[in-house]
């Protein structure tokens, strides 16, 4: 066989190898991901339990007042996702002020002076009390922590 034929054969073999590797990696990854998506993914970005908690808050808080949301990012990074879910879910009905870092009584007092929130949501194990007048336990959303909701003392 002439050298050009060998080169042509090597080229075709390389092309088949590249395509086969792609078919293998994509052919494994895509069906696996489709299976995971249809088996495990939530149908909404707001999981069902969070929607139940949201319904409680929306029933208790009229449109307008600001809420303070306290969750400790340092002890539980997962709360960063859920705190923002609350913020986006209630926008523009109610503004939600997030406090995720440096949670101290002074910082809470500063935010209360600045934004004058009337209600608060606190997430943790156990949740921090940012100065509730009353509060109720909303339970736990999978992946998050215990959630309290209530009205703040004036």
């Amino acid at each position: 066989m002439r050298s050009s034929s060998w080169r042509a054969l090597a080229l075709e073999a390389a092309a088949v190898l590249v395509m086969a590797a792609s078919v293998l990696s994509g052919g494994l990854a895509l069906p696996r991901e489709v299976r995971v998506a249809f088996r495990d993914a939530w149908p909404s970005v707001f999981p069902g339990q969070l929607q139940q908690q949201l319904a409680v808050v929306e029933a208790s808080v009229p449109p307008g007042p600001t809420l303070l949301h306290v969750s400790d990012w340092a002890s539980d990074p997962g709360t960063g996702w859920y705190s923002r879910l609350w913020q986006r879910a209630l926008y523009p009905r109610n503004a939600v002020i997030l406090l995720m870092r440096d949670i101290t009584p002074e910082r809470i007092a500063e935010l209360r002076r600045q934004y004058r929130p009337r209600y608060a949501i606190s997430v943790g194990t156990p949740p921090i009390d940012p100065g509730f007048l009353w509060h109720r336990d909303l339970g736990v959303v999978p992946g998050s922590r215990q959630t309290w909701f209530g009205e703040l003392r004036p």
Binding site: A8, V18, G27
Partner: protein
């Protein structure tokens, strides 16, 4: 799976409206799907670019202005098509001119591609948003929808997330427009906007590879190589991130560059609009726009070094278009006045840190790019193909390979100046940066293969052209 006929219908209408606006901007009548695809991207990119100036002029009505402009453009183009339809039919397509329909390999590639498209569609409609898809892009869409324009407002919280404000608006705009069409904003209903962008990415990759290689089989293989990447068709691409849309614009720009070479030999009217539009999708789009401009300059220099400057001057309209897009992007970032603390600044301390982490960055980037589970042999194949194209390719193809290599080099260099843990950030972000240029790389792979095949084909085959393409 969440199938919302209204959302899908609005997304399709939106895509047609962008295409109509692109037709108006380019002042042309497209007759084939590739040209319509170009118009779609031009309309989408330009709508996103003008959103900022419109937001300054109308701080609560910019979104409605874009919506109205799209509606007018769609109405105008529909009337035009109805009025001219008989003539077009007479000019008609020739199905006999599609010999690849009898090519079993091409049909097998097409069938595989169709399967991947079905998988992507299922994932997009089944998945809710992933982190950036929700926290950045859909949240920006929510703000845009309720405030009616781009603004300086971000949710009151720890300051870090306000950096998201400066992210470009193309994906949020499309999600907000879809919400306007549906009559309400729903985070779970905006995902259909990704379907036309995905289709556009594959169509553009096919068009670009076909123009470069003259082979339908190689073009289908390029599109399939791209589609089989997990980064392109699953994961974050299905989770609402903006990297796949940016890849769609890269593919569109490459197709416009190569298709113009295949048809007229001159610059495509769409090319500067598509290069400029890269700045409207993601922050790093401005770097990719720079790579696109460098590719054009390299092409001119390779073609006729002494006339390169004269060609640049003669192409002043295109230069002005790209500069306008870049100007709007820079003005928007300056208007916001927000400093993204993820990178830099470029001071002595950061250069010293860059020197220290150089080895780590190179090692982790190479590991990520060469991971066969994610990429198969895609990037090694690109490296080989780029070398082949450099030796055997036409100037336009050499310029493309150079631009892709340059873009990857820039993307890699960025991590030298990160303020995050470099390994963590590279692992999270580098695959998405690579996806952005993957359509262009797929075209280079197909081109390298076809050029090499021509070069090594036995003399008899070369003389009859059998070695070139199916």
């Amino acid at each position: 799976m969440r199938i919302d006929p209204l959302g899908l219908g609005v997304a399709l209408t939106l895509a047609l409206s962008f295409a109509a606006l692109g037709e108006v901007i380019l002042w042309r009548r497209s007759l084939d799907p590739f040209s319509w695809n170009e118009s779609f991207l031009v309309g989408a990119g330009t709508s996103a670019a003008v959103l900022f100036p419109l937001s300054l002029l109308s701080p609560s009505g910019a979104l409605r202005c874009v919506f109205a402009a799209l509606a007018f453009a769609l109405a105008g183009i529909v009337i035009r098509e109805i009025a001219r339809r008989p003539r077009a039919r007479n000019a008609g397509g020739n199905r006999a001119g599609l010999p690849w329909r009898r090519d079993p390999v091409a049909l097998a590639l097409l069938a595989a591609l169709a399967l991947v498209v079905v998988a992507f569609t299922a994932l997009v409609l089944r998945y809710s948003h992933f982190w950036d898809g929700f926290q950045i892009w859909a949240t920006k869409a929510q703000l845009l929808y309720f405030r009616g324009a781009l603004s300086r407002f971000w949710f009151p919280e720890d300051a870090y997330d306000s950096r998201i404000l400066e992210y470009p608006p193309l994906v949020p705009l499309q999600e907000a427009l879809l919400s306007m069409g549906r009559g309400r904003f729903d985070f779970d209903a905006v995902k259909p906007v990704f379907l036309p962008l995905y289709a556009s990415m594959l169509l553009s990759t096919f068009a670009a590879a076909q123009s470069a290689t003259g082979s339908v089989r190689a073009a289908l293989a390029a599109a399939l190589l791209l589609a089989l990447l997990r980064q392109a068709s699953a994961g974050t691409a299905a989770g609402g991130y903006a990297d796949m849309p940016l890849a769609a614009f890269v593919a569109g720009a490459v197709a416009a560059g190569l298709r113009s070479g295949a048809t007229r030999g001159g610059g495509s009217a769409a090319l500067p609009w598509l290069v400029g539009s890269l700045t409207t999708v993601k922050s790093e789009g401005i770097l990719l726009a720079g790579a696109g401009c460098a590719a054009v300059l390299a092409f001119w220099a390779l073609e006729a070094p002494r006339r390169a400057f004269a060609r640049a001057l003669a192409s002043w309209r295109g230069v002005a278009v790209v500069l306008a897009f870049v100007g709007i992007r820079v003005a928007y970032v300056r208007w916001l006045g927000i400093h993204d603390i993820t990178y830099g600044p470029l001071d002595a301390a950061h250069f010293e840190r860059a020197r220290r982490i150089l080895g780590t960055v190179a090692r982790v980037c190479a590991r990520v790019a060469m991971d066969p589970a994610s990429w198969g042999f895609f990037w090694p194949a690109f490296l080989v193909a780029a070398a082949l194209v450099a030796v055997l390719g036409a100037n336009r193809e050499r310029s493309l390979a150079l631009a892709v290599g340059g873009a990857i080099a820039i993307d890699t260099t960025i991590f030298l100046f990160t303020n995050w843990d470099p390994e963590l950030q590279i692992t999270q972000a580098y695959p998405r940066l690579l996806l952005q240029v993957a359509p262009a790389a797929a075209v280079v792979i197909a081109t390298g293969y076809v050029r090499a095949r021509k070069a090594v084909a036995p003399t008899g085959l070369r003389a009859t052209g059998e070695g070139a393409s199916p």
